[in-house]
């Protein structure tokens, strides 16, 4: 039997699956067309993917000291870049047509979708005690795209035997 994947890998896989489960409708704004995993520094050509696109990248992982019970708490950081093609007919379309969302609105919607899916998902398990999306960077210049970086923080307890 193969060894189980490390806990941080299992949690990352759950995050990918949870974001993949987002469906536009009453609860969410956009259905992600593609979710890809990449290294932190890896150059990902957004133009080669369908949108909306979510790129998941690893961050830092910090273990707290062991408790007397032999387990320890871990803080895991994961980055997600949410992106949607800028389909406005002109850069000022939202000024002329009030129904045309601004890039800021698109970024806010994508962020809200991911945050809602991750923070409200009831099936955590895997020792996870909290999932937060505490920071967003909206200054992500990619020609032809509306994009934002999100920082996801997961705290979980693990017993190493």
């Amino acid at each position: 039997m193969a060894a189980p994947e490390p806990r941080d890998e299992q949690i990352t896989a759950v995050i990918v699956a949870t974001i993949a489960g987002i469906v536009a409708g009453e609860a969410y704004h956009y259905t992600p067309a593609r979710i890809v995993r990449a290294d932190f520094d890896e150059l990902v050509n957004f133009d080669s993917f369908a949108d909306p696109l979510v790129v998941i990248r690893p961050g830092d992982m910090q273990n707290q000291p062991r408790t007397t019970r032999g387990g320890h708490q871990t803080d895991l950081e994961i980055f997600a870049t949410v992106a949607k093609r800028d389909t406005r007919l002109s850069p000022t379309a939202h000024l002329i047509d009030a129904t045309s969302p601004t890039p800021q609105t698109v970024r806010a919607r994508m962020t809200a979708d991911v945050r809602k899916a991750l923070e409200a998902w009831p099936g955590w398990g895997l020792g996870v005690s909290s999932v937060e999306v505490p920071a967003r960077d909206s200054d992500v210049p990619i020609k032809g795209w509306c994009a934002a970086h999100l920082r996801i923080l997961i705290t979980y307890a693990e017993r190493i035997t």
Partner: protein, 55 residues
């Protein structure tokens, strides 16, 4: 040149370097975000978190 003037020149030079790097990346990897943007975001977020924990 005074120290503040030298600093302005240095900052302008760094900004020019960054513009060059962005232009180069756009040529080498069009449609790809600059990894330095993510790195800077990560650093800012971690620093803010440390500051909040200290307060």
């Amino acid at each position: 040149m005074t120290a503040p003037e030298a600093l302005v020149v240095r900052v302008e030079s760094l900004e020019a370097d960054m513009r060059e790097i962005h232009a180069l990346l756009e040529t080498l990897a069009p449609g790809a975000p600059d990894p330095n943007d993510l790195r800077a975001f990560a650093l800012r977020a971690r620093q803010r978190e440390k500051k909040e924990q200290t307060l």
